[in-house]
């Protein structure tokens, strides 16, 4: 009898294994954040092809099911519940938008799959009376966060500013949950680093219904007499903001922007010259993985990645594949252990999950960030110096 039961268990296990592993992905493929979602999708597709070419996961081809959240909270919850109850996935990847993530907290806690989450960077750390993603989910053993938290983004930005030697910084920020808390934190850190912040001014981003006329805000920055301009906004603000800076002949020593992504067509524009920005991945990073990723990405998609979310998605899917293969099973405890103990590949180099201020499992931190500068149509890395491809040039 025992032999029959053992045989049955082995047979059932073999059947389960033969079905292969499926990872559910939540990403904003349409809507206001579609650029980010499509970049994530491109990164997942490349990683998936490579993983399966390398033998798949547990000897079977890995599968992913991508659900569109539209960066809408209610849609995101419905999409997650579909993945859990209709598709029966045990692993969740993707992730973007703090609003969507906050709406998913209750559902994540209910189902408790392993969630490896790229976006949702509003940590809540340093914001009184508001619980962000790190505070709500960071202590859950099944939650893994890939993208740096908002305070880690700000740490990198202010460290760069401090490295330039400027004495004063005018701070412009878009007025939503992205730019508002970021600007408060940045102003504090800049002052802690010995710089004065004579102006902190909010503007309405074109992404959230603004007209794209930033002239009044820029004029205030010019009047502040600050050595450098630091702005926090969205991708769609890049072109109007920098064009109007040139139009108004505002010439601070450095113009530094921190949008989630930079429009690729901006590189060759004359307004781009000397503008600096924060970015997670650039093809000209000096590490070999960056070049390998670029070549493979171009071969698959016919163009270079223009949003670092592609690199993060690629890194995330590979980390799942490597962890499940290392665990040799899809058992949750074993995969969690493999994720928290493993070192994974990425276009930015090797990375692993480690504790942050609250979270048990934080992937990339402030060290992920690079500052590039547009120099003659090329994004040259100017900070940190260890990765620099060219020296930082003043705009004056």
């Amino acid at each position: 009898m025992k032999r029959i039961i053992a045989t049955l268990v082995v047979a059932l296990f073999a059947i389960a294994m033969a079905q292969g592993v499926t990872i559910g992905v939540l990403s904003p493929l349409t809507g206001g954040a579609a650029g980010t979602g499509q970049a994530q999708k491109a990164g997942f597709e490349l990683a998936l092809a490579e993983i399966n070419a390398a033998g798949g996961v547990l000897g079977q081809p890995l599968k992913i099911i991508i659900e569109d959240t539209k960066a809408d909270a209610a849609t995101g919850v419905a999409a997650f519940e579909k993945l859990m109850t209709e598709d029966g996935v045990e692993f969740i990847a993707g992730g973007y938008s703090s609003g969507v993530t906050l709406a998913l907290v209750e559902s994540f806690r209910t189902f408790q799959p392993i969630v490896s989450w790229i976006g949702g960077a509003v940590s809540g750390v340093g914001i009184d009376g508001f619980d962000g993603i790190e505070e709500l989910l960071g202590a859950e053993p099944w939650f893994f966060h890939v993208h740096p938290w908002d305070y880690q983004n700000t740490e990198a930005s202010t460290a760069f500013m401090a490295s330039t030697g400027v004495k004063s910084v005018a701070l412009l920020h878009e007025d939503s949950a992205f730019g508002g808390p970021g600007a408060i934190a940045a102003a504090g850190l800049l002052q802690d680093a010995g710089m004065s912040v004579p102006l902190v001014e909010a503007f309405k981003s074109t992404l959230t219904g603004g007209t794209g006329d930033f002239r009044a805000t820029i004029a205030k920055a010019a009047a502040s007499g600050a050595d450098a301009l630091f702005w926090i906004g969205y991708d769609s603000d890049v072109v109007p903001l920098t064009s109007q800076i040139r139009e108004l002949k505002y010439d601070p020593q450095y113009i530094f922007g921190a949008p989630p992504g930079w429009p690729s067509e901006f590189d060759a524009a004359p307004e781009a010259q000397c503008v600096t920005g924060l970015i997670g991945y650039l093809p000209n990073l000096p590490n070999a993985e960056a070049k390998t990723f670029l070549d493979a990405y171009v071969a698959m998609h016919g163009r270079a990645p223009d949003n670092y979310m592609a690199a993060l998605a690629y890194a995330q899917l590979w980390s799942y594949a490597d962890a499940i293969n290392a665990a040799g099973t899809t058992d949750q405890d074993a995969v969690i252990a493999a994720l928290q103990n493993g070192t994974f590949r990425s276009p930015m180099g090797a990375w692993s999950f480690k504790p942050s201020v609250i979270a048990l499992h934080q992937g990339f931190g402030s060290e992920m960030w690079n500052v590039f500068q547009f120099q003659n149509g090329v994004r040259e890395i100017v900070w940190p110096l260890a990765r620099a491809t060219a020296p930082l040039a003043s705009c004056q």
Binding site: T30, A73, A74, E81, T85, V105, F111, G179
Partner: protein, 353 residues
């Protein structure tokens, strides 16, 4: 009176159907019912949003302030809970009342405007309210990051006696019933309007304000009444949404996307009716989900084509189309041809729907 009784009985039957729908879904689909219930809840939210917007549209006013009122409801519960820790359910009616009071104030100064001028004023109001909320002290309104809002339903997982999906089902069922209750409230208000002299008054104001005035209708009062009722329901909706989505932020709560949905859905379903916005919400949500599951890439193109085609070929929406089909069926069976007054009669019948 007989029409009112019939409509209220139909509403009661609809309410009973909504009460039992979660159990039916669970019986038929098992664990997948969690997902279907979530989709049905989203359709209910859209129906309440659309029906509340249509109430004002019946007076001929095109409001672009619907997001302001859902946002006001959402922020009422969020601020109330943050500052006082008041019982969860208290904030919901208060959210409706705050939205209604705001509508009273806004309507008093803007409802003399017509058409596009009123629309622009209401759009500006949404932005002003959003900016005001953003500039309130962070200790009160949470600033740009927003405020956490506790869930209304938090069923406990009991290991060994239930599965995790059953917890999700219980939570979704709770929200489904709350939104169903809101929809029933909205339907009752709408039916009372449609089956009272208010319908004629609203229609008269919409058709020609001067003539309405001559007939003894006070256009300003009628529009204000419609605006307040419409905003009250929107405020209730926003309040419940804040609980379901776990947080409020200025961007999410006052999103122009909410206003666009509130406007498009009744146009698709059939303006100036009770049935139209509900039908529109159900069909639009169904079409979008079906397209999404069938064509994962570019499904919104198909969705857009459906909307454009409906505007071009169904000027009176789904209700108008259904009414036309019924009339054709009736004419072919009786062999009669509609008279000159047929179009007007059809429109009146549609409006009562």
């Amino acid at each position: 009176m007989r029409g009112l009784t019939r409509d209220l009985v139909a509403t009661a039957a609809f309410a009973v159907l909504l009460v039992f729908l979660p159990s039916v879904l669970r019986e038929v689909f098992g664990r997948a019912s969690v997902s279907y219930l979530s989709l049905a809840t989203n359709a209910l939210v859209l129906a309440v949003l659309a029906l509340s917007w249509d109430m004002l549209a019946r007076t001929g006013q095109l409001s672009l302030a619907h997001a302001a009122f859902t946002g006001a409801g959402a922020y009422t519960v969020a601020v109330l809970f943050k500052l006082t820790g008041a019982p969860l359910w208290l904030g919901i009616p208060l959210g409706g009342l705050v939205a209604a009071v705001l509508a009273l104030g806004l309507g008093s100064v803007t409802l003399r405007l017509f058409g596009i001028y009123f629309a622009i004023a209401t759009l500006a109001f949404t932005e002003v309210l959003k900016a005001a909320v953003q500039r309130l002290p962070t200790a009160v309104a949470g600033g740009a990051a927003g405020i956490n809002v506790p869930a209304l339903f938090r069923p406990t997982f009991v290991a060994g006696s239930m599965e995790r999906w059953e917890v999700a089902f219980l939570r979704n069922q709770g929200y489904f019933w709350v939104y169903a209750g809101l929809l029933v409230v909205a339907v009752v208000i709408s039916v009372l309007i449609q089956r009272s002299r208010l319908r004629a008054a609203f229609t008269a104001v919409r058709t020609n304000e001067q003539v309405a005035g001559v007939m003894g209708v006070n256009p300003a009062r009628m529009k204000l009444l419609a605006f307040v009722l419409s905003s009250f329901v929107a405020g209730l909706l926003g309040a419940v949404e804040a609980h379901r989505l776990g947080s409020v932020s200025p961007d999410g709560a006052f999103s122009v996307h909410t206003t666009v949905l509130a406007l498009v859905t009744p146009i698709f379903g059939g303006l100036y009716t009770t049935l139209g916005p509900i039908l529109g919400a159900t069909v639009l949500a169904g079409i979008e989900e079906t397209l999404k599951r069938t064509f994962s890439e570019g499904y919104l193109i198909g969705y857009g084509i459906v909307l454009v085609a409906s505007i071009l070929f169904m000027p009176r929406g789904l209700v108008g189309l259904a009414s036309k089909l019924v009339k054709r069926g009736g004419a072919s069976t009786s062999g009669r041809v509609g008279g000159a007054s047929g179009g007007a009669a059809d429109a009146a019948a549609e409006e009562r729907a």
